[in-house]
Symmetry: C2
């Protein structure tokens, strides 16, 4: 079955809060937006895994209102643009069942035959042919009315995952398609070891496939109150989901995972047994699992020095990070924040983020580099009355026509070619050249060259926040919400 | 004796390598230049301790050739300028005895009656009246021909210091002036405890006072080969000390400390018993000794978060530094480098610096902020073909008239008032205004205002190193060496 099934839709669960990967992640740059494993971000990797069978226009990202804009910036702001991806905004985060049911209801409205493949956005899967085979098997079973979980053959007695006991083979679907004997919650080490050795147990990967109408019928059967709300919402324009009334109604639903709320209760369950080079990026220790340790057992990145240190993660960027005499320690260094903790405390990183949030620290919320559909900007210095940004505009991109009430801007070109509208003038600048944009002057910046345009912007003024911007025209229609 | 003795000279040992305080210190910014304890750098604190009895023109700093320029930049570059300080350059570092003997010979040449007070540059001493009393007692004894060590009443059984057993009182000099019974090398804890309790032992502080002719006679007596070389050098212009021949001769001298080489052997020794709030800033753990611990025993500075962490030093600057679940750990964060080590490994920090030096890392050598006589500059970003600096010019200061062959410069004023010569033009710029200096254009920058001038400089060009500068005129006569 390599013939694409036009009824297959993709759903990526992309609403994670980004606290457990701090300081690599931030509230507005959760781990799914990070490019730490492989050459693409985790969300782009998840989309790519769906794209082998689903066109981008059939892929839906489920997230929340604030994050949807960041996801769009991220998916437009690199060379490969995902302009057709759909955005589904949970009114309020209520775990996976309400979110998946809502997206399924939305998809079913337009395509009653829809088969939905659900992927988390924090997995790393080696892209060999085994993935496509697994996906095809799951889609095939789902099309026949099963609620399919992708089950992974365990490679270690992991106590952090739930397990599935595989039952009889599903008739006519080969050895790897099995009925589900039972779901098992996270076991202790003894049971996990037993499961591993038995050959009958699989890791519950959190990847699912089912017909939209089948999952909705099962949601109706097991959690009718959730079914009622999502069916009503699916009939409304998405903007209405974010009204106080609907947010309150959705927020009152029980926060249930799809596993607990439906999969474990349904008699339609099936599992596809898969052998994949698969990783769940759960906490910062994943950096060690996915990295290559040196002879002291340290996994390092960037400009690091380790002396008499062992079994540690030393994760730097451009700055020097030195570990002397450290054992089993995680050191994560970013542009504006550094974390040091023992490996076995990584699950508590959110405690640090909570302290920062209480203080109102921007370092809990954003990175200094912000993606935009046209490229990105990075704050490299700021102080009383000034802010300095490095701006990168991708080939052919053009920022909105805009003006600022409170700040003037000096631009010095570092590389590439800039076409600039400034009031009634139009000028072209090359590296080493500069211009000045006084406050209240309409201006527009475009990269007309063949390489990325990079420039330094020095802002002066009494008020230098991002919201001092009046957009007069914008190619990316940013006045429209991503889901509109 | 508060009447100043015009024959008293000061000598500050300022040649430290700066490795043990990395990353706070660098080879070219050793700890004596750091402002980490109190509001002034350690070297300025040492100078201030001498200044209560010695005018700046009578104070000599002993260091090495490269560091002397940095010391001058440091001592000129703040509001209080020390323009009259003398610089003594060791041809080669050979521990304290050759250096002190050389400086004493130089001082004796101009002032045969000279009394020399020697201070290390890494002490912190509470400036109450007790210091002046101690200094006066030491000068008084020294003037009478004694080799005086300032001995400190121990406050704990410290095993890291040498001790002095105080003998009989020196006749006519009061209870605190004692003959020296003996010097004792660093003791074990049992002996240190005994010493502490006995009331007869003092810490050897490394602070000395003696007549120049007396110390030179004792050097002649105990280490005649050192005396021969320093006497010859003292008769030459200092520039000749740095010829290959003299460096080789000096470098062949035995590397002896003044304690071991002379003080312990001489029968002219005396000790002034002092009770001071005194700290030796030996390693990074001094940050804890001198700081105020929170209720978890952590000493923190800057933008730090500690969660479930104890007895640690978390030393940040502007960036966030978070310690989660750490015990007894030192975390030092600077603009361009971070160090993490257990407290009891601080003495091995030089191992990290050695690795960096092998790699040719600039982070071992310099800070991103460089002091100049007129102020300072900081590299805030650099990349292919560009470098961005924040430049700060103190009130009334003027940079050299200069030009660059390979780079153009854009200047954007952030605060203060800049008078700029650019080719034949002369312009005055205010905050938010900018100018452009093309390559090969003579230019000069001056702060004519009443507050510090701060500006952003964006350099463009193929070669952006500091040595692309032709100085045409310079108020600070930087073509002249500090010691010339």
């Amino acid at each position: 079955m390599t013939e694409p099934n036009p009824n297959v839709h993709g759903l990526v669960l992309a609403g994670g809060s980004g606290m457990r990967f701090w300081p690599l992640s931030r509230e507005m740059s959760p781990k799914q937006l990070l490019t730490i494993f492989g050459s693409e971000s985790l969300i782009r990797q998840a989309i790519a895994r769906l794209e082998v069978r689903v066109p981008p226009s059939g892929i839906h990202l489920v997230s929340n209102e604030r994050l949807a804009e960041e996801l769009r910036n991220h998916l437009l702001g690199s060379e490969k643009e995902y302009g057709e991806i759909r955005y589904v905004v949970e009114p309020v985060g209520r775990n996976t069942l309400p979110a998946i049911a809502l997206a399924a209801a939305l998809i079913a409205r337009d395509d009653p035959e829809a088969v939905v493949v659900v992927l988390p956005s924090d997995h790393v899967v080696e892209q060999d042919g085994r993935w496509e085979e697994t996906l095809d098997a799951a889609i095939d079973l789902a099309a026949d009315g099963f609620l399919v979980t992708i089950g992974l053959k365990p490679t270690r007695p992991e106590t952090g995952f739930g397990y599935i006991e595989a039952g009889e083979a599903v008739e006519g679907k080969g050895e790897r398609a099995r009925h589900i004997a039972r779901f098992v919650e996270k076991p202790d080490l003894a049971r996990a070891t037993e499961f591993c050795e038995s050959g009958k147990y699989l890791w519950n990967s959190g990847m699912f496939a089912f017909r939209a109408d089948v999952i909705l019928a099962e949601v109706e059967k097991h959690t009718p109150e959730i079914a009622a709300v999502v069916n009503e919402l699916a009939a409304m324009p998405m903007a209405e989901w974010l009204t106080e009334r609907e947010m309150k109604r959705f927020g009152a639903l029980e926060a249930l995972s799809i596993d607990v709320g439906v999969m474990e209760k349904s008699d339609k369950g099936a599992v596809v047994c898969a052998e994949l080079d698969w990783h769940d990026v759960g906490s910062l220790t994943a950096l060690a699992e996915l990295g290559v340790p040196d002879c002291d057992g340290n996994v390092t990145r960037g400009n690091t020095v380790t002396v008499d240190s062992h079994n540690s993660i030393v994760w730097g960027d451009r700055r020097v990070v030195a570990a002397l005499g450290m054992e089993g320690t995680v050191i994560i260094d970013t542009h504006d924040a550094t974390l040091v903790c023992p490996k076995d405390r990584c699950q508590d990183v959110r405690k640090v983020v909570e302290v920062l949030k209480e203080r109102g620290s921007e370092e809990a919320i954003t990175h200094r580099t912000m993606r935009r559909p046209w490229g990105s900007w990075t704050v490299i210095e700021e102080g009383q009355g000034f802010k300095i940004k490095m701006i990168e505009v991708k080939q052919g991109a053009r920022l909105s026509s805009q003006e600022h009430q409170h700040r003037s801007e000096h631009w010095v070109i570092l590389s590439g070619t800039a076409r600039i509208e400034r009031g009634d003038e139009e000028i072209t600048l090359h590296p080493g050249e500069s211009t000045y944009i006084p406050a209240s002057t309409v201006h527009r910046l475009e990269n007309t060259g063949k390489i990325p345009l990079r420039l330094i912007e020095v802002q002066n003024g009494e008020y230098l926040e991002e919201d001092d911007i009046i957009r007069l025209a914008d190619e990316y229609e940013r006045e429209k919400k991503p889901w509109a």
